[in-house]
C-alpha cells in the first residue's frame, strides 16, 4: 500500500458557497452571452456550461446539508425536485422577460422566481408535510436556484442564445431538455448520494459534483454538435472532458485520502474475518 500523500482539500461555508454559486453562475451566463455577441460567433457557448457548474456546486452543497438530517432514500428525489423547480422557473422567467420586452433580464427574473418558489416549497414541506428539518426552507431555496442556474447555463450551451424562442426551438423541441434535466439532476444529487455515509467530507462531495458537471458538459456538447455546429460542439466536448478528467483524478485522490485503506486486492480487513 502506497503511503498517504497530501491531497488538496478545502472547506467552504455554505453562505460563501451560495454567493460563489449565484454570482459565478449569473456572471458566467452573461459573460458567455456577451462573448458570443461581441465576436458574432457561437463558439463561446461553452462558457454557459462552465457557469452551470457554479450552480451545481451550490446545489450539491445544499443537498448534503438537507439530506444530512437522515434523508437517505430521498436524495434522488430532492435532486429531481430541484431540477423540476428549475425547469418551471426557467420557462417562466424567460417568457415573462420576453413579454415585458426585457429579454436579457430573463436570467435574473428566472432566478428570483425560483428562489421564491423554492422557499414556498420548503415552507410547505416543513409546515404542511411536517418534515421538521430546520434548514429545509433555506436548502430548498438554494436547490431551486441551483437547478434554475444549471438549466439556464446548459440551455445556453446548447442554444447559444438567451432568447425564449431560440431555447424552445433548440432545447425543448429537440428533446435535449431531457438530458439537461437528468444529467444536471445527477450532477446535483449524485455527489451526496455517492458519498453517503458517516465519513462524508465536503470537499470530496463537491469535487464529485464538478466531475459529474463535466460529464453533463460533454453531453450538452454532443447536443451542440447539432444545434450550434461542429466547432462549437467540439470545443464544448473538449472542455467538458478536461473538467471531467481533472476532477475525477482529484476525486480519486480524495477517496484515497479518506478511505480506511485502498488495496489492490485482498481478503476482508483482519478485524472482520
Amino acid at each position: 500500500m502506497a503511503e498517504k500523500t497530501v491531497v488538496k482539500g478545502f472547506k467552504i461555508e455554505p453562505k460563501q458557497l451560495r454567493i460563489y454559486g449565484l454570482v459565478g453562475s449569473v456572471v458566467g451566463i452573461y459573460l458567455a452571452y456577451i462573448l458570443n455577441s461581441v465576436t458574432g460567433t457561437n463558439i463561446f457557448s461553452f462558457v454557459g456550461a462552465l457557469a452551470a457548474l457554479f450552480g451545481v456546486v451550490m446545489g450539491a452543497n445544499a443537498v448534503r446539508r438537507v439530506c444530512a438530517y437522515g434523508i437517505g432514500t430521498g436524495v434522488p428525489s430532492i435532486g429531481m425536485l430541484s431540477l423540476g423547480m428549475g425547469t418551471v422557473a426557467v420557462l417562466f422567467g424567460l417568457n415573462i422577460a420576453e413579454q415585458l420586452g426585457v429579454g436579457l433580464l430573463g436570467v435574473i427574473l428566472a432566478l428570483v422566481y425560483s428562489l421564491i418558489f423554492g422557499y414556498v416549497v420548503g415552507l410547505i414541506a416543513n409546515r404542511v408535510m411536517g418534515f421538521n428539518i430546520p434548514i429545509m426552507e433555506e436548502g430548498l431555496t438554494d436547490l431551486s436556484g441551483a437547478g434554475t442556474l444549471a438549466i439556464l447555463g446548459w440551455c445556453f450551451a446548447i442554444s447559444g442564445s438567451l432568447a425564449y424562442a431560440d431555447i424552445v426551438k433548440d432545447v425543448f423541441n429537440t428533446g435535449f431538455l431531457a438530458i439537461i434535466f437528468i444529467c444536471g439532476g445527477l450532477a446535483i444529487l449524485h455527489p451526496f448520494n455517492a458519498n453517503l455515509g458517516p465519513d462524508e467530507k465536503q470537499d470530496r462531495t463537491l469535487v464529485n459534483g464538478v466531475m459529474v458537471g463535466g460529464m453533463s458538459t460533454i453531453a450538452t456538447g454532443i447536443c451542440a454538435l447539432m444545434t450550434l455546429g461542429l466547432a462549437a460542439g467540439m470545443v464544448q466536448i473538449v472542455v467538458g472532458f478536461a473538467i471531467w478528467y481533472y476532477f475525477y483524478v482529484w476525486y480519486f485522490r480524495l477517496a484515497k485520502r479518506d478511505a480506511s485503506a485502498v488495496v489492490g486486492t485482498g481478503l476482508l480487513p483482519p478485524s472482520a474475518l
Binding site: 445527477l186 449524485h190 466531475m211 477517496a255 479518506d258
Partner: protein
C-alpha cells in the same frame, strides 16, 4: 392492422425483454437500488464486504440517464449527420456505457471511503473486473431502449411525435422502475439472505447481516450476477417485454381512433387476467413452501 406493423411491435417486445433482463443484471452486479441499503448497512453493523456498491440515484433515474445519453447521441448522429440508424444507436449506447462506468466507480469509491470508520476497504481489483461487466450490461440496455425509441419515431406508423431523447427518458424510467420492483427482490430478498427460511420476512435484527462468504472464498458481485441471471433477470425482462408488447399490440390491432373502446377493453382484460394469475402464483407458492415454522398466527398491528 398490417403485418409489418405487427412485426415491428413484436421486435419491440423482444428488444424490451432483452433490455429488462440486462437492466436487472446490471443493477444486481452493482448492488444498486433495493439491495443497496443492506450492502450499505453491512459494513456499519460490523460486516465489511467485497461487494460492489454502485449507488447511482436508484434505478429509474440512473437508467433514464443511460437511455437519454444514448438517445441524444443517436439523435444528433441521425438528424445532424445523417448516419445509419443502427450505427447511431450503437454509438449512443457506447457513450452511455462510458458514462455509467464513471458514475459506478465514483459511487464505489465514495461510498466505501465514507465508511472508513467501519473499516470498509476500497478494493481496486473489484473496480477493475466488475465495472466492465456493469458497463456491458448498460450498453445492452441502452442499445435496446434506444432502438425501441428509434423504431417508434422513424419506422412504426404513425410516427411518434416526440423526439427520441424524451422517449428514451420515459422508457429508461420505466425499465428502471420495473427492474427495481421485479428483479431486485430476487437479489435483495433471496441472495443476500439465502440462509433465511421461507416466509420469515426480514426483521430489523437481520439488517446488514448479508451473506459475505461464497461457496469458495469471499462472495463478489459477479457471483450475484450468476445467481440473478437464472431467475431475477429473465423475470424482469418478461415483465418489461410484456408491458411493451401487450400495450403496443392492442393499439396496433385496434385502431386507437376509430376502435378506441375495443383497445381500452382489451387493456382492462389484460389487467384482470394478470391480477388473477398473480393471485394464483402467490397462493400456489404459499401452499408449496409455507408456512414458516415459527408462524404463531397473525399478530394484530
Amino acid at each position: 392492422m398490417d403485418a409489418f406493423g405487427m412485426g415491428l411491435v413484436a421486435a419491440m417486445g423482444a428488444l424490451a425483454t432483452v433490455a429488462g433482463a440486462s437492466e436487472d443484471i446490471d443493477s444486481d452486479i452493482g448492488s444498486q437500488s433495493n439491495p443497496n441499503s443492506q450492502v450499505q448497512l453491512a459494513a456499519q453493523v460490523g460486516n465489511p464486504h467485497r461487494i460492489y456498491n454502485k449507488a447511482i440515484a436508484g434505478e429509474p433515474p440512473s437508467n433514464a440517464l443511460w437511455c437519454t445519453t444514448a438517445a441524444i447521441m443517436a439523435y444528433v448522429l441521425i438528424e445532424g449527420y445523417h448516419m445509419p440508424l443502427l450505427f447511431a444507436v450503437a454509438a449512443g449506447a457506447s457513450l452511455a456505457a462510458l458514462f455509467d462506468g464513471v458514475m459506478s466507480t465514483s459511487a464505489y469509491f465514495g461510498r466505501s471511503a465514507s465508511q472508513a470508520r467501519f473499516n470498509q476497504w476500497i478494493y481496486l481489483d473489484i473496480v477493475r473486473y466488475t465495472t466492465p461487466s456493469i458497463m456491458a450490461h448498460v450498453w445492452i440496455t441502452s442499445f435496446c431502449i434506444c432502438l425501441i425509441a428509434v423504431i417508434q419515431v422513424y419506422i412504426l406508423t404513425p410516427h411518434h411525435p416526440f423526439p427520441i431523447p424524451v422517449i428514451g427518458l420515459v422508457w429508461g424510467l420505466t425499465v428502471g422502475a420495473i427492474g427495481s420492483s421485479v428483479g431486485d427482490i430476487h437479489y435483495g430478498g433471496e441472495r443476500e439472505f439465502q440462509w433465511r427460511l421461507f416466509g420469515q420476512g426480514l426483521n430489523t435484527m437481520l439488517s446488514g447481516q448479508i451473506v459475505r462468504k461464497a461457496e469458495a472464498g469471499l462472495r463478489n458481485s459477479i457471483d450475484n450476477a450468476w445467481f440473478c441471471a437464472k431467475f431475477g433477470g429473465p423475470c424482469t425482462g418478461l415483465a418489461f417485454g410484456l408491458t411493451v408488447f401487450l400495450d403496443n399490440w392492442r393499439t396496433t390491432v385496434f385502431d386507437p381512433v376509430t376502435q378506441a373502446g375495443a383497445a381500452i377493453a382489451m387493456g382492462l382484460f389484460f389487467v384482470i387476467v394478470m391480477n388473477l394469475y398473480n393471485h394464483y402464483c402467490e397462493v400456489s407458492a404459499r401452499r408449496k413452501y409455507g408456512p414458516y415454522p415459527g408462524y404463531k398466527g397473525d399478530i394484530p398491528a
